[in-house]
């Protein structure tokens, strides 16, 4: 039986450090119900879910009946944990390299049922990672650890904010099966950007928009559901890619040479092999899709190309005419690349404005350290317009929602129409509208003829016309 949890939001307003507010929420969650919280990016879905786990300052009304043991899995919680781990790493005033907290310890902290934890670790294939530092995991692996930790704590209320994002197909299916097994005893609130992906056990949908709870719909109420679905079919007008900076500062590339040539590359650490003997040649105009299960090394392979992986120096890699490790600087490589990934989003922790984040794409920097030209500012304005963020140009980036940050980083990656555009799961955390916007932008940039696109994704439905080559990594 579901534990009889009745939670009531009575005219609740919540403030999040002064940069986001939920207004006058009335919401009744009764025992036996499982809720989906949906709405556009930046509407306050995650904020509402986070209130269930005690986040924010309640400035009006009251929340009644919140159970004590609430487990939350979300980007914010994940980012917080990673930030805490990174912070520990800075501890070396002198000379100690911190190894970070191992996965086993992260999970154990909250575990109530050890046997369950062990079973989940096994199922989610985390056994080989137990002794690895949490912060060294890939995006998908981190997410899995968060999930196992939440499930093993046997919560009175389980809050899952975009739990499927970043998971490969197998893990997704397994999580779904596990959830179906526990929902009878665990009330669940789930945040998803896509209503159509909701699990069948969801009984109710809460639609959030601009910080307000605008609709509460029972899934078996057909007419109310139909009305809600209409929200998702709002059309956006014809979009055009903003021009790049007309003064092309890039050195010319040899048209006959491939952009990227990787020969029999391997990445390994003292005790583990990420992948071995991968060869990959990317010709100009050849758009590629890269797939593979969590932990198969997708991000790692891409970072050999971008130069962010230190082992790019011990592999046979030729990019943009540079044989790596012959005196070129990393900035000579990066000038040809536009890049977006979840890892970049985590690393983009500097206090700067939305507009400067886009302009920083011209300089391949995190934060802006060079005076931008008027043209660059104008191009950034065009991008803000497309993203519907013109009025927020000077707001601080680090206070945006996950989805809005992602949109800006995609604009940052595209802003210079780079010869190589690397999009590592760009649609993670985007709602339906924005996902379609991003897919349309990718399609446009593929068709422009100047940019070659490298695209990583898990969702079959996020296929982009024009991307015809495919590299699939296996589990090593």
């Amino acid at each position: 039986m579901v534990k009889p949890v009745d939670i009531a939001f009575e005219d609740v307003s919540v403030d999040f450090d002064g940069h986001f507010q939920l207004h006058r929420i009335h919401w009744q969650l009764n025992g036996g119900q499982h809720w989906l919280v949906a709405g556009p990016n930046g509407a306050g879905k995650s904020a509402l879910a986070a209130v269930l786990s005690g986040a924010g300052d309640i400035t009006n009304g009251a929340v009644q009946g919140l159970p004590r043991n609430v487990s939350i899995v979300s980007y914010e919680a994940q980012a917080e944990l990673i930030a805490a781990e990174l912070k520990k790493d800075d501890a070396d005033i002198l000379d100690v390299l911190s190894e970070g907290t191992p996965v086993a310890e992260i999970i154990e902290r909250d575990t109530r049922d050890k046997a369950l934890a062990n079973q989940l670790i096994e199922q989610f294939d985390l056994t080989p990672l137990l002794n690895r530092a949490f912060r060294k995991l890939s995006t998908g692996e981190t997410r899995k650890v968060m999930l196992v930790r939440a499930l093993a704590s046997e919560p009175d209320l389980l809050v899952l904010d975009e739990p499927f994002d970043g998971l490969d197909v197998n893990t997704h299916d397994m999580l779904m099966t596990h959830l179906h097994g526990v929902v009878d005893t665990t009330p669940t609130v789930m945040v998803l950007n896509r209503i159509d992906e909701r699990p069948s056990f969801i009984t109710h949908i809460a639609w959030v928009e601009a910080g307000q709870l605008t609709h509460c719909v029972a899934c078996d109420d057909e007419s109310a559901m139909a009305e809600l679905i209409q929200w998702l079919h709002l059309k956006h007008g014809q979009i055009e890619l903003p021009n790049p900076d007309p003064i092309d500062r890039l050195p010319a590339l040899d048209p006959d040479e491939p952009l990227v040539q990787i020969k029999e590359a391997s990445v390994r650490y003292a005790d583990n092999v990420v992948f071995e003997n991968i060869s990959w040649c990317i010709e100009r105009g050849q758009h590629w899709q890269l797939t593979g299960p969590n932990g198969s090394g997708k991000t790692c392979l891409l970072s050999l190309i971008t130069g962010d992986h230190p082992q790019c120096y011990v592999n046979n890699i030729r990019v943009f005419g540079f044989q790596r490790g012959n005196g070129e600087s990393i900035w000579q490589i990066k000038q040809f690349i536009g890049y977006v990934s979840t890892q970049l989003q985590w690393e983009y922790r500097v206090g700067t404005s939305l507009k400067n984040v886009i302009i920083s794409g011209f300089h391949d920097s995190i934060g802006l350290y060079t005076k931008p030209s008027d043209v660059q500012k104008a191009v950034a304005d065009d991008w803000l317009d497309i993203l519907g963020m013109s009025s927020r140009a000077n707001e601080p980036f680090n206070q945006l929602s996950h989805g809005d940050k992602r949109l800006l980083l995609i604009a940052r990656a595209m802003v210079k129409h780079p010869p190589l555009l690397i999009l590592d799961e760009p649609c993670l955390g985007l709602d339906d509208m924005n996902r379609r916007l991003v897919l349309a932008l990718i399609e446009k940039i593929c068709a422009s003829g100047k940019t070659t696109v490298l695209y990583v994704n898990h969702h079959a439905e996020d296929k982009v016309p024009g991307i015809e080559h495919h590299l699939a990594l296996g589990k090593s």
């Binding site: 912070k87 520990k88 790493d89 800075d90 501890a91 070396d92 005033i93 002198l94 000379d95 100690v96 390299l97 911190s98 650490y269 003292a270 130069g307 962010d308 230190p310 082992q311 790019c312 120096y313 011990v314 005196g327 070129e328 600087s329 990393i330 900035w331 000579q332 690393e347 500097v350 700067t352 400067n356 920083s360 300089h363 391949d364 920097s365 995190i366 934060g367 802006l368 350290y369 060079t370 005076k371 931008p372």
Partner: protein, 491 residues
């Protein structure tokens, strides 16, 4: 072992070297890394500084490899793993030193004599030896072969930050110097500049200094305000709060995270901004407490500076090195046994403002320590820029380590040199402040003033504000932070 280099100089030379410090502008670095292009750089040691500097230098297009002691390689120690996991060539001294154009010594001070003695005979004629701290040259009087160029490049941040800022496209403030006795071809400055560019330091600001100024100011800063004052302050404030009946876990938390919180304000806007975070009545109180402490502690700061200048400090410490660190280890164990150290911080919430409001005495201690250290250094002939970096600028970095791991770990992670000096200071300063502490109550530490009436006398407030703002550390601080901000946030 050589004799103390500083003491071998004439007074004129001493003053000249101590007074050497100039902020270099970005346009002085137009040659980029050219002076090091194609040269073989071999780093000794692969801890956080060694590894992260090496990663930056390599990403700037330079040829970097690591040399470790044969045992470290054979046993695959952490330093070996750090280097090889990151795709660097690792070899023994015999393998790599003879091929090196530049040898970067990034080992701890204590090992310098042994390391340099081991590698110097193998170094190529006309090559370059680089340090990140001048203790070995200045205090131990290490004599380097005449044909070798000796430089120093010292990023003023922990290794992980050196890397993180580089990856963002920026850098961290860096001090460079050339050892005048060892610049046979006059290329020392060009090499040091190129090295600073290679680590990204030129973007955040480079200070051109001397080995002497670096050592004498670094030692002074770390043993007084940076580590010593924070250690003494932690112990005294905690004991006072317990005496006043404050909940121990609360007291432990207020101190453990309080230093970090109040010095964050220091980082942004100097002592002025830190003091401005207090209410007017609290600010006046903190000002008066700081003034009183400055009078009490001034002779101690002078003694530390004098002992550093004469070499008395380093010879005492080196004697302890020779005695298997007996004093150091004993003091370290004492620290671990202190009441503050043994009380876990509570999990109550303390807002950012509460750290100021309830930590008036801590704010006063930071103010007193920063100003005294700065005054003492500049009085001793160290130029204001150096004195600023070695006092105010680094305080938040050390406060940060206390926030993470309290005193015992702070002491274990800072250099042995800093730790030794910190204990010396602490042993003298705790008894010195005894009478001052006696009458204090929880209104200045633990509970806050709790006034219903916040009014103050206008004339007194103006006087206090004027005194805070006109301290010389504020003028140089505003200028140097301005350079940083110019470069960091151009728009």
């Amino acid at each position: 072992m050589g004799t103390n280099y500083f003491n071998s100089l004439s007074l004129r030379e001493q003053l000249e070297q101590l007074g050497k410090c100039r902020f270099m502008h970005l346009d002085e670095f137009t040659e980029g890394v050219d002076a090091l292009k194609g040269k073989k750089m071999v780093i000794i040691g692969c801890g956080a500084q060694g590894l992260n500097q090496g990663l930056n230098l390599r990403d700037s297009g330079l040829d970097v490899s690591y040399t470790l002691r044969a045992e470290a390689i054979a046993e695959k120690r952490q330093s070996w793993k750090n280097a090889s996991d990151n795709g660097f060539t690792v070899g023994t001294y015999e393998d790599l030193i003879p091929t090196a154009d530049v040898v970067l010594n990034l080992t701890p001070d204590k090992q310098h004599t042994a390391v340099v003695n081991a590698v110097m005979p193998m170094m190529k004629k006309g090559s370059c030896l680089s340090y990140s701290h001048g203790f070995n040259i200045v205090e131990e009087g290490m004599q380097i072969r005449d044909d070798i160029t000796v430089i120093m490049v010292a990023p003023k941040c922990p290794g992980s930050e050196v890397r993180a800022e580089y990856v963002r496209g920026f850098g961290v403030p860096t001090l460079i110097a050339v050892h005048e006795n060892n610049d046979p071809n006059g290329e020392g400055l060009a090499l040091a500049k190129a090295y600073a560019v290679g680590t990204g330091g030129h973007k955040a600001g480079v200070l051109m200094s001397s080995f002497v100024a670096e050592v004498k100011s670094d030692l002074m800063g770390e043993q007084t305000i940076l580590c010593g004052m924070l250690q003494t302050g932690s112990l005294l404030c905690f004991d006072k709060m317990i005496e006043e009946g404050i909940d121990a876990p609360y007291a432990a938390k207020l101190i453990q995270y309080g230093w970090e919180t109040v010095t964050e304000a220091l980082k942004y806007g100097g002592v002025t901004n830190m003091m401005d975070r207090l209410s007017n009545p609290a600010k006046i109180r903190a000002f008066e407490l700081a003034d009183e402490m400055k009078d009490i502690m001034r002779p101690l700061y002078h003694k530390h500076q004098d002992d550093i200048m004469t070499g008395h400090f380093s010879s005492t410490m080196m004697a302890d090195w020779a005695n298997d660190d007996k004093e150091l280890l004993g003091w370290r164990a004492d620290t671990a046994e202190s009441a503050f150290e043994k009380t876990a911080a509570g999990d109550m919430e303390i807002s950012e403002q509460e750290y100021f409001d309830h930590g008036i005495l801590m704010v006063a201690m930071v103010k007193a320590g920063v100003e005294l250290a700065f005054e003492t250094m500049t009085d001793a002939g160290i130029i204001a820029d150096s004195a600023y970096y070695e006092s105010l600028h680094e305080t938040p970095l050390i406060a940060n380590t206390i926030a993470r791991k309290k005193l015992y770990e702070m002491n274990a992670t800072i250099s042995d040199t800093a730790e030794y000096g910190c204990y010396l200071y602490n042993h003298a300063c705790v008894p010195l402040l005894q009478d001052f502490m006696k009458p204090l109550k929880s209104d200045v530490i633990g509970k806050g003033l709790q006034l219903n009436d916040m009014s103050v006398d206008n004339a007194r407030l103006i006087e206090v504000n004027e005194a805070i703002r006109s301290h010389p550390v504020e003028a140089i601080g505003a200028e140097l932070r301005g350079h940083m901000a110019d470069m960091k946030r151009i728009v």
